[in-house]
Symmetry: C2
Subunit: 136 residues, 2 copies
């Protein structure tokens, strides 16, 4: 059986594309630059469900996404989270934060409601991320 | 200049001991089994401030702590977070969660107030973690 994205993750995001291990998704929430990495490993829930090489690869993909988001002019700090209390499928959030953003200095999860990107802004951000993450 | 723990991290935790890269700390909060790993690298704030070998090592230390906390009878899910919005010094939270815990299914940060362990429970947990994490 092949990898399938959890439908809740799919509903909240747009696909950027595939890194060597993970499917990279852009959270459709204009409040924060927010990428989700989902390792394409069927049934993975915790990081122990990856092998050591896959864990190292996930770390490097996290570092690449983190550096990319950190390069945005209004990003001061990167937040990384692997929670999975609601969606068990293993996925990692990488979020660019700034003092004064809607959840600052707390975590973003569960705070307020997502504000969808306008279509042209969404396309521009997806294209920029594909370029920076060397996808496609 | 040698590594020094941020005083806010020090105030909220008890030292378990040192893994090859990180100082392992137990959050003094009996509501959740909660370990913080702080890489002993002066000035590190984001994961890009570690080199690739250190990042792989951090991932393995996260996996070890996660598996240890996951082995506790009442832990159903592991949450991992690297935020640093308040304390910039690079540190990673590893938290054992269960449905019905005080913050479930949201993240734990900023929810309610820590409940300090009783002294004997604290000692027992520190000793158990030292054993499981193979710390001296």
């Amino acid at each position: 059986m092949s990898f399938a994205l959890d439908p809740r993750l799919a509903a909240d995001t747009r696909v950027i594309g595939d890194l060597p291990l993970s499917r990279a998704l852009l959270m459709n929430d204009a409040r924060y630059p927010w990428v989700i990495l989902t390792p394409r490993r069927l049934g993975a829930i915790e990081i122990r469900d990856l092998d050591i090489a896959e864990r190292a690869q996930l770390m490097e993909e996290l570092a690449l996404v983190a550096a990319t988001l950190r390069s945005l002019p209004d990003v001061e700090k990167i937040n990384i989270g692997m929670l999975g209390n609601i969606v068990p499928q293993l996925h990692a959030h990488v979020i660019g934060r700034r003092s004064g953003d809607p959840a600052w200095p707390g975590p973003v999860w569960g705070v307020g409601r997502a504000i969808a990107y306008e279509a042209t802004t969404l396309d521009a951000r997806l294209n920029w991320l594909k370029l920076k993450l060397r996808i496609g």
